[in-house]
Symmetry: C2
Subunit: 255 residues, 2 copies
DNA sequence: CGGTGAGTTGACTTGGATCAAATGAAGTGG
DNA sequence: CCACTTCATTTGATCCAAGTCAACTCACCG
């Protein structure tokens, strides 16, 4: 049976949308079916969507590049990272199935970060300009795009909360719990995690040192919460994992 | 003369939009003037915009609340923070003139964070539902909203970069530089900052302890970069401040 | 199998948190 | 106008969680 984790056996879409397994959940579909209650498609011509296949290490887009396309991840996984003038890099998110990509924009309309494939990955590509025109035909689609961006904002806020208020162990545990929640949301298995990213990526994302991530994975395993074998993590005790993720060591509050 | 900082002497708008000083820069205006090149307004009825006045401490919206409105800050300042089950709170952003608010959405359509006035603040309120319908009439407006959200995503990514990769001094310095950049972008003074938020808010935003923020402000002053008097900061040496904000690993820090 | 890079483990150091106490500013009401 | 409370901020002294440095193991690959 093997309900696989999102990054395993990723396949390119032969024909965009038409053969897409996620079609019914995709925000772009709202454009072609403006009235989900069955009142039928409107006259708006279909939005041209193309598919692009990436291999491990390939860039979907790079920071500073003129941002002309918007993307939806169909299969696989990407990391999104920002760099600055002094060479520091920071992973700010991991994207998987269904996530919107390419929307973080600098004031002058360039990509504010870089998206890089962690694995064989397939994305749906649409011209941002055409997407905006297409939204004109469909409040429901506008809403879907707005909501996707809103969800990413919420994700980042939660990441900031974790990095700012939780200790290293809590950060790592809640990272794992977050991955499980995401998998459940996508209808995948929730007792196992396949980590598509390196320890260094996890460390950057959680603002920790690689050594700390490694030590803590060992510790979580020792505590009986998970069983770790390289990039393969079995969830042994989800409740324990959640509790390790949760409580903070009574830090300062804002009134 | 006194070009004041954005939060001083904030006034409510007597009549939304019509009398708004920022009218020409407002993303909502794109809705009423879909063709900026002068081809004239289209038939789309005006989007109903109301104004709301907040006083220090008032909530614009609260985390968990059903998200039905979207906001644009007209004057004043707000802090945006997220909390979690264990009571931890984290300031994830400060909003001022022209910023979009209320767009961080949980999966079930609720506000993912709380927005609270730091000062007397005026915001423009529009129903998200009506906004989405209105965007149907104007790709340019859809683009403006998309870009605003994209800019907030970029802001958060940069905050993550700072918190993850910079030491305390660099974080504080780049926070100040960021405020100056924002002020310059709005056409305000760039040699002076009026901090509308408490030290605790700054500390949370930068993921530092209040004591550290206080100590570092003293240190930046000692280095001759700024002159601090409570919430009033004079920029003495912008280049120095920038250099203190910039480089990461290199130990050219103060004594 | 030797080489290479990722991951783990151990020993030691330190930046910034925490604890504690003083000082300052802004009321409040007598 | 001044005594008194309250809360924000600053300053000082100490400590520890996580970073850094270093050595080793493991998987994978030509």
């Amino acid at each position: 049976m093997a309900l696989v984790a999102p990054t395993t056996h990723a396949k390119p879409l032969e024909s965009p949308c038409g053969g897409c397994v996620r079609r019914s959940h995709c925000m772009l579909q709202a454009l072609n079916h403006a009235a989900p209650d069955g009142r039928g498609a409107h006259s708006q011509p279909d939005l041209p969507v193309t598919s692009r296949l990436l291999h491990r290490g390939d860039f979907l887009y790079e920071q500073g590049e003129r941002a002309s396309n918007t993307y939806v991840v169909a299969a696989g996984a990407l990391k999104v990272w920002t760099g600055d003038a002094s060479g520091d890099q920071q992973v700010v998110g991991f994207l998987s199935q269904g996530d919107l990509a390419g929307a973080e924009l600098t004031r002058d309309g360039r990509h504010g970060s870089t998206a890089q494939a962690l694995d064989t990955t397939s994305v749906c590509v649409v011209s941002t300009h055409k997407l905006m025109s297409a939204l004109a035909g469909s409040p429901a689609a506008a809403r879907a795009v707005f909501d996707s961006m809103g969800a990413r904002l919420d994700d980042m806020a939660n990441l900031l909360l974790r990095v700012g208020q939780k200790n290293a162990e809590q950060r790592l545990a809640s990272f794992l719990v977050g991955l499980l929640d995401k998998q459940r949301h996508l209808g995948l298995v929730t007792d196992r995690i396949e980590l598509p990213m390196s320890r260094a990526d996890m460390a950057s994302y959680l603002s920790l040192a690689v050594e700390t991530v490694s030590r803590l994975l060992t510790r979580l395993q020792g505590a009986g919460a998970v069983k770790v074998q390289r990039s393969h993590v079995d969830v042994v005790d989800l409740e324990l994992l959640r509790s390790l993720a949760g409580q903070s060591a009574e830090r300062h509050r804002l009134h």
